[in-house]
């Protein structure tokens, strides 16, 4: 019995699928990650990243003696003159006025 032409086409279509090669289907891992790794992994990574950040910025955050001239505006200069200057050695303070004069 002859099939409907549409079904002939369908049959040919399925035959044509044979020509498509099987792709290399990649799997993440043959054994798979344990479930606990999904949760602990990101937490561990966050802690590690935070630690690196703290260590790398620790040197900059520590109060040290100024490495160069400190530029102060007039208000800061007044405050400095009135207040306590012990935290900054006088030898390190250079004040440049608006006219370019170094005090």
């Amino acid at each position: 019995m002859k099939e409907h032409p549409a079904l002939d086409q369908l049959s040919q279509f399925y035959q044509s699928l044979d020509d498509i090669p099987t792709p290399a289907i990649s799997l993440p891992t043959e054994r798979g990650l344990p479930l606990w790794a999904l949760f602990t992994g990101p937490i561990f990574a966050s802690i590690l990243a935070y630690s690196v950040l703290v260590i790398s910025t620790a040197g900059h955050a520590m109060p040290t003696e100024p490495q160069g001239p400190i530029l102060l505006n007039q208000y800061a200069l007044q405050e400095l003159r009135k207040g306590d200057t012990s935290s900054v050695p006088a030898s390190h303070i250079f004040v440049i006025t608006s006219r370019g004069r170094v005090i």
């Binding site: 409907h4 549409a6 079904l7 086409q9 369908l10 049959s11 040919q12 279509f13 399925y14 035959q15 044509s16 699928l17 044979d18 020509d19 498509i20 099987t22 792709p23 289907i25 990649s26 799997l27 043959e30 054994r31 798979g32």
Partner: protein, 168 residues
């Protein structure tokens, strides 16, 4: 195609039987899973997605496969289920320009694929299993968990639906 797929199935089945439980290797199932998925999906991109999903399931169900007498029937059932889910959740139309089918096949092939995409997932699954894989009513019934009589009637309905859509 049906004969080729069946021969492949028998070859793989004997190979699987000869394997000891220690030798269970997912590689041996890649071809079988992809071919099953391709006959249901009708296009390689979808079949690859389904095959990857099924292979992941197989990795997790290794002991279950080793325990069963008919591993290929079990794998076919899982593949058909995954392919059906894929077809159901496939909201967008497959880009025919990007499809490997579009590159390799004739205008008629594209027309068939477009017609298939207008059918319900259930009809596509039945046509793929019966005409694509050449499975018997019994094998289809086992894979879908329905009686053989239901397979026959649904398959006829699927063929009619395809003919109607084809002539539109």
């Amino acid at each position: 195609m049906a004969i080729v797929l069946r021969a492949e199935s028998h070859r793989m089945a004997s190979a699987v039987r000869n394997q000891s439980s220690v030798d269970f290797d997912i590689e041996g199932y890649r071809e079988f899973v992809f071919r099953c998925a391709l006959s249901v999906c009708g296009e390689p991109e979808g079949a690859e997605d389904v095959a990857q999903e099924v292979l992941m399931i197989l990795l997790k169900s290794r002991r279950q496969i080793e325990a069963t007498d008919q591993p290929l029937a079990w794998i076919r059932k899982v593949t058909v289920r995954s392919a059906t889910h894929y077809l159901k959740r496939q909201k967008r139309t497959v880009s025919l320009q990007d499809s490997q089918v579009a590159n390799n096949s004739s205008v008629e092939g594209l027309a068939v694929l477009q017609t298939l995409q207008r059918l319900s997932p259930e009809h596509r699954v039945l046509l793929g299993m019966a005409m694509g894989q050449g499975l018997s009513y019994r094998e289809i019934a086992d894979a879908l968990g329905i009686p053989e009589g239901t397979v026959a009637s649904r398959l006829n309905a699927a063929k009619k639906a395809f003919q109607q859509e084809w002539e539109r």
